[in-house]
Subunit: 596 residues, 2 copies
């Protein structure tokens, strides 16, 4: 059975030495996050995830969710109690607005807890996770009455939330959606239609489920400009806030899918369900985007989370499994064979995964801090710069952390050989669970298109220039430090490729947008590598300083080696990305469709 230990020390090192969060004490919620408080929160979260959520991961996968004949859905055994423990610990509202019962702590801390929970039990973590998106939308676009009605209960976890976008004929292209909203005359609407792929659409963990639903008001214009957003509770709420009769929304079926079996993926039938408009009519997509950006970061963290737990189990196996002898001669002559961690190729897999995980965790925290600044700072320049970075990097994190995270689960599974393929060992579940992260909340190809088609050209390329400037400044600022040279050299190489690729788009994609589309995926990964390399350079700097201060030598040395590995073996991929981008769309688009 697989195990999990939350990377508490790792996270504290990042918050203390790499991105000292004390720097942000002027932001609401940060002054309260003193080192002691942070350590207590992270340790408590680790305990809950290790002891309560993780033991249900494998049993939850096997049991799956069951839809009863009346349309209700039963989650696997133990999930109800775990959900109680989770919400009673106040974890849903960790970073939420104190005016509605939240703790108002940094979003960055919530992102860390999110990683732990997703490592321990991704299918479980999705239930409270989906409430976060609903909360964000209601707090940003809801009326005062809507906030009062829904937000405190979502924060307390008594109720949970969902996002209802996809229909069977439209996922990416929401302009095609058909779900209809008919005014009831009392300010509410009757919603008709069928939504598919609704995660946590129905379950038995919360008293009520608050659906946020995209639909078209009768007579609205076609396409994306006729889509509105509605809040539709599973159970109607009386004037006094108590639960009333059931609304006309039911779960018609749950999907049989590759993984995340313990999270119900529902077909939701809206049969005149009562809903209320959130935000302006026909402006639903914009309102929903608030939710999607949060959600994308959450999915990126899932990619990292599964990569981390898969790594831990592969490393443990590699240290125990005896097979063959080291190429340099037996390391444990008294044993029948050496542990397989002596073999270079096994180390290659493990080093590749950890070189990603450490930097991906840093990048997630770095991005979460940008989100905190963007949403909490009063300094307009600071807000603008942070929002730029957040907007630019969100699709990159979603695409890269889930793509590489998935690849890493496959690598980790491989370390176990045949045992990796057997259910009992749990590695194949990580692969199956991780696979969805590349698909949902916008398939990764869409992230790449969002990056290249929207985020990159926005405001004359301001966000990208800001990011490049920040990385260059770091390099220049540290180039006198010889001990950092191996890290800066690799980073500069990647940066040069990224600049050439950006230039190539400027010269070739304006007249022919297909050139941007054809290079978008490689560009997303190229930018991701540079961002991860930038994290490594910062980690290395902090590790060198920490070593010099006489702290945790062995752990710091391990970081320096892992970062060096990243520069030697992962960063060189940037050249292939550049070559592919520069190849353009010609060959790719030339083949007639019928030849495929």
């Amino acid at each position: 059975m697989p195990s999990y230990k939350a990377p508490v020390e790792e996270v504290l090192f990042l918050l203390r030495d790499v991105f000292p969060i004390q720097r942000y004490n002027n932001l609401p919620g940060f002054a309260e996050a003193t080192p002691d408080v942070v350590e207590a929160i992270v340790s408590e979260a680790a305990k809950l995830c290790e002891e309560t959520l993780q033991p249900l991961n494998q049993t939850g996968d096997r049991a799956g969710c069951v839809r009863n004949k009346d349309g209700s859905v039963a989650t696997p055994q133990g999930f109800k109690e775990a959900y109680r423990a989770f919400v009673e610990g106040g974890w849903v509202g960790l970073a939420a607005d104190p005016d509605y019962g939240g703790q108002g702590l940094p979003f960055t801390l919530a992102a860390i807890v999110d990683e732990f929970a997703s490592s321990a039990n991704m299918a479980f973590a999705m239930y409270p996770g989906l409430s976060q998106g609903a909360l964000a939308v209601l707090l940003t676009h809801g009326t005062g009455a809507q906030k009062t009605m829904f937000v405190p209960k979502l924060i307390s976890g008594d109720w949970s939330g969902t996002m209802n976008l996809t229909e069977s004929h439209c996922g990416t292209d929401l302009g095609l959606l058909k779900t209809k909203a008919v005014p009831n005359g009392d300010g509410s609407y009757a919603i008709f239609g069928e939504k598919i792929f609704i995660s946590a659409g129905e379950h038995d963990l919360a008293e009520n489920i608050i659906h946020l639903v995209l639909a078209r008001i009768e007579g609205a214009p076609a396409g994306v400009k006729g889509i509105s957003l509605f809040v539709v509770p599973k159970i109607l709420i009386e004037a006094d806030g108590s639960l009333g009769p059931a609304n006309k929304v039911t779960c018609g079926a749950i999907e049989h899918k590759m993984g995340i079996h313990a999270n119900a993926t529902c077909v939701m039938n809206y049969d005149g369900a009562k809903g209320w408009l959130v935000g302006e009519p026909h402006r639903g997509l914009a309102a929903m985007f608030v939710m999607m950006n949060e959600a994308r970061l959450g999915v990126a963290i899932q990619g990292l989370a599964i990569s981390e737990v898969a790594y831990q189990n592969a490393a443990a196996y590699a240290k125990e499994r005896l097979q063959g002898r080291a190429l340099s001669g037996p390391k444990y002559p008294e044993k029948p064979a050496d542990p397989i961690i002596v073999h270079p190729d096994v180390r290659r897999s493990l080093m590749t995964i950890r070189a990603f995980n450490d930097a991906a965790r840093a990048l997630a925290i770095w991005t979460a801090l940008k989100s905190d600044i963007a949403h909490r700072s009063k300094d307009k320049t600071e807000v603008r710069a942070a929002a730029d970075s957040l907007g630019l990097l969100t699709p990159v994190l979603k695409g890269v952390l889930t793509d590489v995270g998935f690849d890493n689960t496959v690598k980790a599974q491989q370390v176990l050989g045949g045992h990796g393929y057997i259910e009992e060992w749990g590695m194949e579940q990580f692969v199956r669970d991780a696979r969805i992260t590349m698909i949902y909340e916008g398939a990764n190809g869409i992230q790449a298109l969002d990056l290249v088609g929207r985020k990159l050209p926005k405001d004359g390329g301001r966000a990208m220039m800001g990011f490049l400037g920040e990385v260059k400044f770091f390099v220049k600022d540290n180039e006198a430090d010889a001990s950092l040279a191996p890290y800066l050299l690799g980073l500069e190489q990647g940066l040069a490729h990224l600049e050439r690729a950006t230039m190539w788009f400027m010269q070739n994609a304006i007249a022919k947008p297909e050139n941007a589309g054809a290079g978008s995926y490689d560009y997303m990964h190229l930018l991701g590598l540079v961002a991860l390399g930038y994290m490594w350079a910062q980690i290395a700097k902090a590790a060198i300083a920490s070593k010099a201060a006489g702290n945790g030598d062995a752990a710091m040395e391990a970081k320096l080696l892992t970062g060096k590995y990243f520069m030697e073996r992962i960063m060189p991929e940037t050249s292939a990305h550049l070559a592919r981008i520069s190849a353009g769309a010609g060959t790719m688009m030339a083949l007639p469709a019928e030849q495929f």
Copy 2:
């Protein structure tokens, strides 16, 4: 439900225009393989695979195999009838020795049929597939009596075969194996022990199952030099060839695994089962290697096969699914949206898969032809050269065709978005099934080590020099042809990287073998890319000639574009492989085991 159409035209083009098999008419079995015969065989195989095997693929995955209380194993519904059809068609013995009832046709044809069957239903194809390895071992190392007793029944498919190597504490390191063989005094042995991960170890398709089992004769030396090979029938055979009483070998359990649910992966208990030595005592590993090389090529073909069927279904979806508009403006303004094949990033995935599949199929056929020459030619020089290529390329095909094949199933699944994650659509089964190919018959890391540690240095590097010489000769021989330039240029670039990597090993790995281990995986993929690139250059040459002759213009043009795509977008990966190889083992080996 997924569908499958065997690539008959593609295969005939390869056998006719790219590697004209008429060239080998001097070899036994080739003269009989006239163009008409080849076309008839390939078409018949296609029909059987499309109409009989493929419809059982998804139902077989859902039902899985069931072990009854008595240890017998039931295959999914329809498998018995399909197996009958398969063996009655003579497919097991297509290339087998006519002296024992085989048809003696080229092994190359059998490899092609193997691809079709594995695309249609990989779990099914493994049952007759495993008989091939048993046949090869018995024909090479068996006594006359053993051949007479077992071979005709294996060829007819009345009986099937297995390979029993792995034990719970040893997979890769067979030197640790404990299964014991005690002489019975009558020339037979009593076998005691437990084997795990035995594919097709027990089932209801054949009257008898012939296990080939590695075990240690009592008192044998420890390690690999004390391992012998035994043939152990499930049911004992009487002197007259009829079936006698059950032998003492039973299936103790079947594994619950990620995929290939319809193929029983068994724990086999040997409780004094009667077995007979095959080959010399203590020389079992060498004898088993005959089987493993065959099997590795078979697994490589599985990687291609799943990649092919996944491609077909992704391409069909991409041509039908309407979502969004082409970046260059609507292609089908009368429809609510364009089919997603207009989007560059969807094409990127599909082109990447087909650029691999076409070349991988060529490489499988090229290698199978080498096998035919190595086993059937009377010309010693020719045999030596062919055996060199076969030995060198077998681990490369196993490692690269299964790694990339798996990645391609993931890419194909991604084209379907959320539908790719749902069981109903069948794409996730391809991913789950393909995953095992990277693990069994020697995990791919072992293939890389076999390549770099054994095949590369063997005979002073003769095989590698032969391969490099062949590719260089082709380039030189065709460099005057300007229409081939885009293909030769890419190939030469890859070749230069391969030569530098080879040189790096010569200079750095002899004194420090860990440098070879650390670079082995990248070297395997680098060599694979060059081999695939060499195939594309040959395909391009044949396509240009075929176009000039006025044949199948559109199809030939599609090949030329796909090959160009390979050179533009896949070949550039060779530079990252070279960079990683040249990084050496230093950083990778420096991290103490306890830091993982």
